[in-house]
Each structure stands twice: as structure tokens, then as C-alpha cells.
């Protein structure tokens, strides 16, 4: 494969490989273990290595400048960087190589940090030798590298938003405002999600339903937004810029849809809808945790309610005495971390066998907001707050301060010793026994007329969508982003983005920010006529293909591999062919092909052979 | 390399000195102290490797200043680590690089 027929870069043509190898110290992450200077000495002796340098931070501007300069001054035509995971910086260095004037795919990334220095902290000599072998493999691979071009595909410049809560509405409003057409699909019959049900939001004390209505108004009449309620995604295929979606509808129960407060009537539902979109935003939200029967008396004691139920009912109560279910209430308790921060062996596992060991983020502030509201409206009511840590972060601390000043009494329990809820005596409905760590671990007994469980958030159950979009899911059942710091709203599926609580618990303000961030990431690829995809897809050598179709049965991606009948020497023959837009480059077809007729671009079988040789070859590792 | 200053350079230097004249002598004193301390530590290090407390005893300078100078010298390549002595790192002078 080393003989290239065509090349976009004259530099690489008919030239002997001149390979530059760049070794990164990564501060000390690598060089504290790997002897980078000795390594560089050995690398220089490898075949066709024309330059080898060591830098403290290869990814820094001076590091990058070195590569560009060497390519130009030393006529390098292939480049290896040995540094961190390609996940972090492969793209960075491909861009650098391109800046230097080379085809970006004449580049090989070697991970001598995660796979070497970090893994072999206590064996510097071994790690150095391993690094050398890894670089040798990359050099070997580069001997067989050829310039590749990114695949350019058409771009459907519109977005599908799944979920009609505030995250979905906000992304739709922003995108439509920017001129990107949006198809919004909501499973239920109304828009606005959970926020529409909130009496007051924090920290601004806005009316939840008012906020939701405003957002709904922004999208419902927008010419670029089409809303479908009682709808679900039935089929998705394709890739960024070219997702083909089928939307199906729940049958209408009866004609009473108009009773819907948020007006499902905005959407003209049909039997089914087909659309092609460039990007997809998943804004399917989260649900409040539903306590198990008997969990802190829930479901058994009528005086135990969840926060969601409490705030709904509190909003409807008249002022005066605090009457709950017909009874005057004097003592109310709030219990934090119900369904969150659970501990193995203390809290019973959930249906899937896991415990919810994460913090639900919104609940501390939400609880204190309710406690404060309660104290403000009914000053006679005693309020007790059972907590582990009060997590009113940032300005939310104000709720903690104010609810304290309003007279809420706080008691701190340890997760290992959760409060015990028992039937009350002497006229109170309940009795909560708690080992209070603010009072030197003394067991304190609090008589209560009402206990509000500060329930956390759990991921909304969307197995079909997860399956359709091949969405990664974290251990906490929430959808998983590519990288929590670098790319917090993107998923491993290019073009599919996350907005709001589908990803993790958030409050309204954070949800709206996240939605904005998802919207911008959805808009960026749509700002161009075409999308560019990595060229690492399968390619069939028609001459070698014997039409056995084994690859077709193995391919997991619909439409990626298909057969066609061609005329070979006057006879018709069945040959496999690849649709590069749909191929994920998984290599399953390569593995089953009996004639070595299929290769992955950028990862050819010859290259694998060369890499294996490179790893086992006798290299000057001693010394 | 303009090893010799041109007239333009001299004019610029003059202007700079005028605009940043060290009226109360703060900078002058800072630089004098800096040079003096650096010299003392360099001399102490020339006698052999030492930890920061050892260098402090030899020079009589404030201990945090000694650490700072050693750190600076390490950064600019005239000092390197030479093992440890209990809870303290030993530093040694690199003769050949001493500019």
C-alpha cells in the first residue's frame, strides 16, 4: 500500500519517509518515569527518523511551533508525537501537522502517559523501553501511511430536540432565534416539563409556570419550530449532518386534549413524520426519586410526603393556620438526601441493584426554599431540618442563612445512621429519632406532624432512545458526556448533544445554561454546507472481494455496507461496497473477510502488521 | 545581534530611565540586596551541596529568602537537586552553567 497513486501533497510523493518524532515530558507526568532524553537518543537511531525532540509541553504553542518549523525546515513528511492519550490531543497535533503543510493523516499519536508512565510508575527502565517499542510501532505504521481526506457529506441544517421541558424549549428557542429550524418532540401531551409545575423557582423566586409559559410562547409561534407532542422517536439512522428520524405518535385518548393546560393543540400531529436533521439534542429530563414503600415511613404514614408533593400542595393552601389533610400542623420536618448520597449496606438498593450514591444537587436549596416559605407563611410552625451537609452552594447560601434566621432548627445526621421515623405519641403524627452530630452525637427525638422527604433526582427512563441513539450512560444512569470538563454537552455520538437534567441533576438556571451550551454545539456544525467526517472507514478492494457476503452479515450499521453487482470481465459479480457516511470504522468486516479485501483507512492490515513488527522488533533498548 | 546599541536604542534607554527613575531608591536597594544575597548563597553552595536550613546557617540570611534564591537558581539552571537530608532537599551548584 505504500505506493500511492494520488496524493494531495506533493511533498510526500516519491519521497523517502522523513519522520519527525516528538516526545512530550508532559510537565513531569511522563518524564518523571520515562527517561525522555535517553528515549530520544534511541529514537534517533530508528529507521527514517529524521528529527527527534523532547519538549516539556508538546501541546503548548512553543511545542507546536517546533513541529511546524521542523516540517518546513527539515522536510519532514511524517510526524509522531509521543505524549498523552489521543483522546486529548490527537486532533491538536493533526491540526499542527496540517499547519506545517502536511496531510493531517500522515501523523501518528503514541500514548506514553496513560499507557506507559502512569501505568508503570515504579519501573522507569521498563517504561522507557516500552515507550521506545510503542514509538517504533508508530514509526512502522507511518511507513505505510497515506494521505487521507476527510469525508465531506451534505448537511441537513436543522435540529431535532427530544423533550419539551425547559431544556428542550430553551434549545429550540435559541436555535430558532439563530435561524436554525427545529423539530421538537415531546412524549407527554404538554410542554413545560416539571418546571411548569413548580410554584416558585430559586434563586429568583420566579413562578415556574410563568417561566415555562414564556418559553413555550417563544417556540410555539415561531415559524422555524415544529412541535409534536404525544410523540416519540421511533427510528434514527445516519450520522452528524444526516440523521434520518422517524417520529411516531401515541393515539389520542379522546377529544379532550384541549383540557391540556399548556395546549397540546400547538402541534398538528400526524400518523408519522419523517425528517432529516443535522444534529440531535437530547433533553429528556429527570424524575424526582420515588421513595420505596416504608422508606422513612413513606406510603405507610400519611404524614410522610415527598418534596414534590409538598410544594405542590403548599402553594394551594390558604394563609392562617397551617392545615394539612384537615389537621392543624405545628411541627414539620424536612429530611435531606432521600434517594441521594445513598450508602451501600445502609440504604436498600434500587430496582437495578445499584444505590444512588450521587448528590442530587438541587434538593438542599429546594428544601430550604420550601422551609423558608413555610416559616414565612406560617410563623408558628416549627420546622426541623435533618441534613448531612447543607449544599446551598454559591448565592444559594442565602436560603440557608434566611431559613436559619426564620427559625428552622437543623439537625445533622450521618449517612450511616439515618434518622428513624416512628409513629408519634401525645397527639403528634410522627416521631423522628436522630443521632444529632451537632449535639455531640446525642440521640434527639423530634415529634412531627408532617415529614417532607427531600427526594433527589433520578434519570428519566428512556431505554428505547438510549438504544436508538447509542447514547452512553453513566453509572448513575444519567446520560454521559464525552468529557466533563472539555466537552460537557457532547456525547460520544458525533452530532448528538445533551441538554439539562438528562445528563445530571441541575437546577433551572443551570439547566437553561446547559441548554444554551447544547444549542451552540448543535448550531456550529449546521453553520456550514457540509459536514466533515474522519476518513477512518472501511474500503473494499473490489479486485480481492469474492462476494462471500460475510462482511454484510457482520456489519452492525444499517446501510454502511451493501452489495452491488458489477461486471467483471463481462461477467456479473457481487461485490461489497461501503457507504462512508454510515460506516463507523469498527473493523468487524475486516476481521471476517477471508481474502483481505477490506481495509480500514488509516488502520490497514499492513499497518497493523508493521506495528506488531515494531513492537517485537529488536530495538536498542538497553542502557 | 545588535551587540552594540544604536543611537535609537540609547534614546529609548534614556527615555525609559527618565520615565521610571527610581526616585526613592527602592529598586536600587532591592537590586543591591538581591545581588548580595545571591552572591552569598552562591558562595555557600560553591563550598558544597546543602539544604535550605544549612545554607541559612552559613549565610545568615532569612530562611524563606534562601529558599527563594535556590528556587530561582534552579529555574535558571545554576542549581540542581542532590538528594535529600531528612525532611529537606539538598541543592548543589552547577559550575559549568554558572553564568
Amino acid at each position: 500500500m505504500s505506493e500511492q497513486k494520488k496524493s494531495s501533497n506533493p511533498k510526500t510523493e516519491s519521497q523517502k519517509p522523513r519522520i519527525g518524532v516528538y516526545i512530550c515530558r508532559c510537565g513531569g507526568n511522563i518524564s518523571d518515569v520515562v527517561n525522555t532524553d535517553a528515549l530520544a537518543g534511541k529514537v534517533k537511531q530508528l529507521g527514517d527518523v529524521a528529527a527527534c525532540r523532547v519538549e516539556t509541553f508538546m501541546c503548548s504553542d512553543p511545542g507546536q511551533a517546533t513541529i511546524v518549523e521542523d516540517i518546513q525546515k527539515q522536510n519532514l513528511n511524517r510526524v509522531v508525537v509521543a505524549s498523552c492519550s489521543p483522546f486529548l490531543h490527537e486532533l491538536t497535533f493533526r491540526t499542527v501537522v496540517q499547519r506545517g503543510g502536511l496531510n493531517p493523516f500522515l501523523y501518528e499519536h503514541v500514548n506514553i502517559r496513560e499507557q506507559d508512565s502512569w501505568a508503570h510508575k515504579h519501573d522507569p527502565v521498563g517504561a522507557t523501553s516500552k515507550a521506545l517499542r510503542m514509538i517504533n510501532a508508530a514509526v512502522g505504521k507511518l511507513h505505510h501511511a497515506e494521505p487521507l481526506e476527510r469525508i465531506r457529506m451534505g448537511n441537513h441544517r436543522q435540529t431535532l430536540v427530544v423533550g419539551g421541558g425547559i431544556a428542550g424549549l430553551k434549545t429550540a428557542a435559541e436555535l430558532a432565534g439563530k435561524g436554525v429550524p427545529v423539530i421538537l418532540v415531546e412524549q407527554s401531551s404538554s410542554l413545560g416539563g416539571r418546571v411548569a409545575l413548580l410554584a416558585r423557582t430559586f434563586p429568583r423566586e420566579d413562578e415556574g409556570s410563568v417561566l415555562a409559559k414564556k418559553l413555550i410562547a417563544q417556540v410555539t409561534d415561531h415559524p422555524l419550530v415544529r412541535i409534536f407532542t404525544r410523540a416519540r422517536i421511533e427510528r434514527v439512522s445516519g450520522f452528524i449532518g444526516n440523521f434520518d428520524v422517524k417520529i411516531a405518535f401515541e393515539p389520542k385518548p379522546d377529544a379532550s386534549a384541549s383540557s391540556d393546560p399548556q395546549g397540546a393543540g400547538h402541534s398538528a400531529n400526524a400518523a408519522e413524520v419523517y425528517a432529516s436533521v443535522g444534529t440531535i439534542i437530547v433533553a429528556t429530563g429527570a424524575d424526582p426519586y420515588k421513595p420505596a414503600r416504608g422508606e422513612y415511613g413513606f406510603g405507610e404514614q400519611p404524614a410522610v410526603v415527598s418534596l414534590a408533593d409538598f410544594l405542590r400542595q403548599l402553594a394551594t393552601l390558604p394563609n392562617g393556620n397551617f392545615i394539612w389533610n384537615g389537621k392543624r400542623v405545628r411541627n414539620v420536618g424536612f429530611l435531606h438526601c432521600v434517594g441521594s448520597r445513598q450508602v451501600e449496606g445502609v440504604n436498600p438498593p434500587q430496582a437495578d441493584g445499584k444505590i444512588n450514591d450521587y448528590c442530587s444537587r438541587y434538593c438542599c436549596t429546594a428544601i430550604l426554599q420550601q422551609a423558608l416559605t413555610l416559616k414565612m407563611r406560617f410563623p408558628d410552625v416549627n420546622v426541623f431540618d435533618f441534613y448531612q451537609d447543607i449544599r446551598t452552594y454559591g448565592g444559594h447560601e442565602d436560603y440557608y442563612t434566611k431559613s436559619s434566621a426564620a427559625g428552622v432548627v437543623f439537625l445533622r445526621y450521618h449517612a450511616e445512621e439515618p434518622p428513624v421515623v416512628e409513629p408519634g405519641e401525645n397527639g403528634s403524627a410522627l416521631k423522628v429519632r436522630v443521632k444529632d452530630y451537632l449535639t455531640f452525637g446525642e440521640e434527639v427525638e423530634v415529634p412531627l406532624d408532617l415529614l417532607v422527604l427531600g427526594v433527589g433526582l433520578v434519570a428519566h427512563d428512556i431505554p428505547e432512545l438510549i438504544d436508538l441513539l447509542k447514547l452512553p450512560v453513566g453509572a448513575d444512569r444519567f446520560l454521559q458526556e464525552v468529557h466533563p470538563k472539555l466537552r460537557p454537552v457532547e456525547t460520544a455520538v458525533n452530532g448528538v448533544l445533551l441538554a439539562g437534567t438528562a445528563q445530571a441533576p441541575m437546577n433551572i438556571e443551570e439547566t437553561l445554561s446547559a441548554a444554551g451550551a447544547a444549542a451552540v454545539k448543535a448550531a456550529i456544525p449546521l453553520s456550514r454546507d457540509a459536514v466533515e467526517l474522519d476518513p477512518f472507514v472501511a474500503e473494499v478492494n473490489a479486485e480481492k472481494c469474492n462476494g462471500c457476503e460475510r462482511c454484510l452479515t457482520e456489519c452492525a450499521y444499517t446501510g454502511a455496507l451493501f452489495k452491488e453487482t458489477v461486471q467483471v470481465d463481462g461477467e456479473s459479480a457481487v461485490k461489497a461496497r461501503v457507504n462512508p457516511g454510515l460506516c463507523f470504522g469498527c473493523g468487524a468486516c475486516v476481521a471476517v473477510c477471508p481474502t483481505r479485501a477490506i481495509d480500514l483507512k488509516g488502520w490497514t492490515l499492513d499497518q497493523f502488521d508493521a506495528m506488531i513488527d515494531g513492537l517485537v522488533e529488536a530495538v536498542p533498548v538497553e542502557g | 545581534m545588535p551587540a552594540k546599541l544604536t543611537e535609537a536604542h540609547r534614546q529609548a534607554l534614556k527615555l525609559f530611565r527618565e520615565q521610571h527613575s527610581d526616585l526613592d531608591g527602592t529598586l536600587k536597594k532591592y537590586v543591591a540586596d538581591f545581588r548580595h544575597e545571591r552572591k552569598q548563597i552562591t558562595e555557600a553552595l560553591r563550598k558544597g551541596a546543602g539544604t535550605v536550613p544549612e545554607l541559612t546557617r552559613q549565610t545568615g540570611l532569612p530562611v524563606d529568602q534562601v529558599l527563594w534564591h535556590v528556587t530561582a537558581m534552579r529555574k535558571y539552571g545554576t542549581v540542581q537537586e542532590a538528594g535529600a537530608d531528612g525532611d529537606y532537599v539538598k541543592y548543589e551548584f552547577i559550575e559549568q552553567n554558572g553564568k
Binding site: 416549627n382 426541623f384 447543607i390 440557608y400 442563612t401 436559619s404 434566621a405 426564620a406 427559625g407 428552622v408 432548627v409 437543623f410 445533622r412 429519632r433 444529632d436 451537632l438 449535639t439 455531640f440 446525642e442 440521640e443 434527639v444 427525638e445 423530634v446 415529634p447 | -
Partner: protein
């Protein structure tokens, strides 16, 4: 902590009761522990103020009055100044002391006086009226222009004095017993002195005596304050008030003993002691009043009625005392001087009478608590050494 009361029910209404004693910010506390850790006096097994603030938050009344820590505090105010929540633990401590004094008074008068300025005023005036009437009506038997000490005949002084001291003794003993009983209860009925060898008991006495004489603990307060001149430190001011008070008390006693009982007619040591003590008192009380008025020192971020009451009382006492002394020295007479004497005598008696129901009660409770605290320290040392002292 020792043993604890299990299953203690909380009473959040207690903080409302406490608010009437001047603690308004108990609820603000989020139990970070800064106050206890900033306090130089909060040591070993007697941590405060947070412990007491916490008990107050939960309304654990018994635990509150059982806590000797209440009286170990000198109100330096460091805790209130550095409190991250503005919860004013120092004020809470002061209010809890008032609550505690009130709770030892079976008559309930103290509580009412703390809760209401009107009651305080009424009681003060009423009692003054009764005393004055008593003194004047009996004194009227003598010619008004006579030698002024003839104003109050011996029998009156004697009878009233006996009555006063009897009353005082009863109230003090009742209060002290209450405090000790509470303290014992917090130790599960154990006495802090039980099993302590004599030497250790003597050491407790010695420590207590030293502390009363030097107020060394008070000197540990206000670590962060830029040191005031020695004569303006809270310790010096408090010391001068206390020494002045004790000195005057002693001088009066000596005078009574030698001049009236033994009929010496003139006893210079008592006069000298009285003069010095009076000056000390005058100085301490004036500075204290001024500082409270200006809100200058950390310890006087806020002052309750009981604080003003006591200081005002002491000030008037000191001023009238000097007036009388001057009058006696120069042989002045006349109705003005008689009236001044009347006021002085009335107020002195009233102060003594109200000892256990006013802020002055701390003069009894603090030494007592300190004694118990020292005893407990000695016992801890004793037990730590396996029963062998030293």
C-alpha cells in the same frame, strides 16, 4: 461528654423564652464551632459557647442550667466578633446567664425583672420606697440637724441589717444549692470533690483564691485585640469594680464593727480602705459605663437593662458614698446631706437585698462555678494519674 440524656425531646419554643432574656440570634448559629475554638477560656471538658448555643437552639433547658460553662465566660466578645453567621454567641451566653439566675430564683421575680424593664423599675422604686420610708420614719425621731450619723439609729440599722442579711443568706444559699445540684446532675449525681484527697481540695481553694485575686483567666481574653493600656483592659476595669465593691463591703463591715459595735468612734483603716475602694469603684464603673455607652470594646457590643441597672446603681453608690465621706470629714450637715445619706443607705441595702436576683448574682455563681471547674480539673488530673495525685 460523659453520660447523656437519651431521647431528649427538643423544644424549639424555648428560643422565644430566651429572646426575652436578650438572646435574639441563637437561631442564626449554624454550628461551625468557631466561637468555642476562638475562646481562650474554652478548654478541656468544658467547651463553650457553641455547646450552650446548641442546647439553646434545641431548647434543652435542663442541660443549659446544668452547665458550669455559663459562668466561666467573661463576655470578652471575641466569639461574637468573629462569628461567621452574626449569631452573637457572647450575647447568647449573657442571656443564658440571666436565664440561669432567674431559674434559680423560686419566686420568679428575677425572670419578670429580666423580661420587663417596667417590672425592674417598679421593683427597684418600690423597694427603695419601703426602705427609705423605714429609714426616714424611724430617723425622724432624731432632730434633722443633728450629727448626720444620728439620722439612722443603731437599732434600725441593726434590725434592718439583720433582716437583710438573713434574706440574703437564704437566697444565696438557695441559688448556690441549685447551681451545685444542677452541676452534680450533669455529672450523673457525682460530686466533683468525691474521692479527692485533701491536698487536691486545698489546691482547688488556692486556685480559686488566686483567680479571684488576680482574675488571670480574664486576662486571657481578647487575644486579637491590640492591647489597650493596662488600666483600660477589660480585666483591669472589671477588677477595679469588683475590688471596689469588695473593699467597700469590707470597709462598711469594719466601720460597723469598730465604730458602732465597739464604739471606737474612729477607725482609720476602714476609712482608708473605704476611700481607696470607693475610688476604684468610681473609676471602674465610670469607664465601664462610658465604654458601654460608646460601644467601644468588643465586650460591649450590646448591653441589656440589667447591665445598665447594676452599673448605674454602683455609680450612684460610689458618688453618694464620697459625698457622705466628704460631709463627715468637713462636719457638714443639713437636709441635702441627709437626703444623700438616705439615698446611699437605701441603695446599698437594696443592692444587697437584690443580690441574687440581679446581675450581681454572678459574684456568687462565678466563683462557685470556677471552684467546681477547678475541682473537676483536679479530679481529671487525679484520675488520669490512676488515683495518685501528682
Amino acid at each position: 461528654m460523659g453520660a447523656t440524656l437519651r431521647h431528649q425531646t427538643v423544644d424549639p419554643d424555648f428560643r422565644n423564652a430566651l429572646a426575652r432574656f436578650g438572646a435574639n440570634s441563637v437561631i442564626n448559629c449554624f454550628n461551625c464551632g468557631n466561637c468555642s475554638a476562638i475562646c481562650s477560656l474554652s478548654k478541656g471538658n468544658t467547651p463553650f459557647p457553641r455547646k450552650l448555643v446548641r442546647y439553646a437552639q434545641l431548647g434543652l433547658k435542663e442541660k443549659l442550667v446544668q452547665s458550669p460553662e455559663l459562668w466561666l465566660c467573661y463576655s470578652c466578645g471575641d466569639c461574637s466578633v468573629t462569628c461567621p453567621r452574626g449569631a452573637e454567641p457572647g450575647e447568647t451566653m449573657a442571656a443564658l446567664r440571666r436565664y440561669s439566675i432567674a431559674s434559680f430564683d423560686p419566686t420568679g421575680l428575677t425572670r419578670r425583672m429580666y423580661e420587663s424593664p417596667a417590672v425592674t423599675l417598679t421593683v427597684t422604686l418600690l423597694l427603695a420606697g419601703v426602705l427609705a420610708f423605714l429609714l426616714v420614719s424611724l430617723g425622724q425621731a432624731q432632730p434633722m440637724h443633728g450629727w448626720i450619723f444620728g439620722l439612722v439609729p443603731y437599732e434600725v440599722v441593726h434590725k434592718v441589717g439583720m433582716g437583710v442579711f438573713a434574706l440574703l443568706a437564704i437566697v444565696s444559699v438557695a441559688g448556690s444549692i441549685g447551681l451545685v445540684r444542677n452541676y452534680r446532675r450533669s455529672m450523673d449525681g457525682d460530686s466533683p470533690l468525691r474521692g479527692l484527697p485533701l491536698r487536691a481540695r486545698l489546691r482547688v481553694l488556692k486556685q480559686l483564691g488566686q483567680e479571684i485575686l488576680t482574675m488571670n483567666r480574664h486576662a486571657q481574653c481578647n487575644e486579637d485585640e491590640t492591647p489597650a493600656p493596662w488600666y483600660l483592659t477589660p480585666r483591669a476595669i472589671h477588677y477595679s469594680v469588683m475590688a471596689g465593691f469588695l473593699g467597700l463591703f469590707t470597709a462598711s463591715g469594719l466601720n460597723f464593727l469598730f465604730v458602732y459595735f465597739l464604739g471606737w468612734g474612729w477607725f482609720p483603716p476602714a476609712r482608708v480602705l473605704g476611700t481607696i475602694s470607693g475610688l476604684l469603684m468610681l473609676y471602674g464603673v465610670s469607664v465601664s459605663l462610658y465604654q458601654r455607652y460608646r460601644g467601644k470594646a468588643t465586650c460591649v457590643t450590646s448591653s441589656a437593662l440589667s447591665d445598665w441597672w447594676l452599673l448605674a446603681f454602683l455609680l450612684v453608690l460610689a458618688v453618694t458614698g464620697f459625698w457622705i465621706e466628704t460631709a463627715v470629714s468637713f462636719g457638714w450637715a443639713g437636709p441635702v446631706n441627709d437626703t444623700v445619706l438616705l439615698i446611699h443607705t437605701t441603695m446599698a441595702m437594696e443592692l444587697v437585698l437584690l443580690l441574687m436576683v440581679t446581675k450581681l448574682a454572678h459574684a456568687v455563681y462565678r466563683p462557685l462555678s470556677l471552684g467546681l471547674y477547678f475541682a473537676r480539673q483536679q479530679r481529671d488530673i487525679y484520675e488520669a494519674n490512676g488515683g495518685n495525685h501528682d
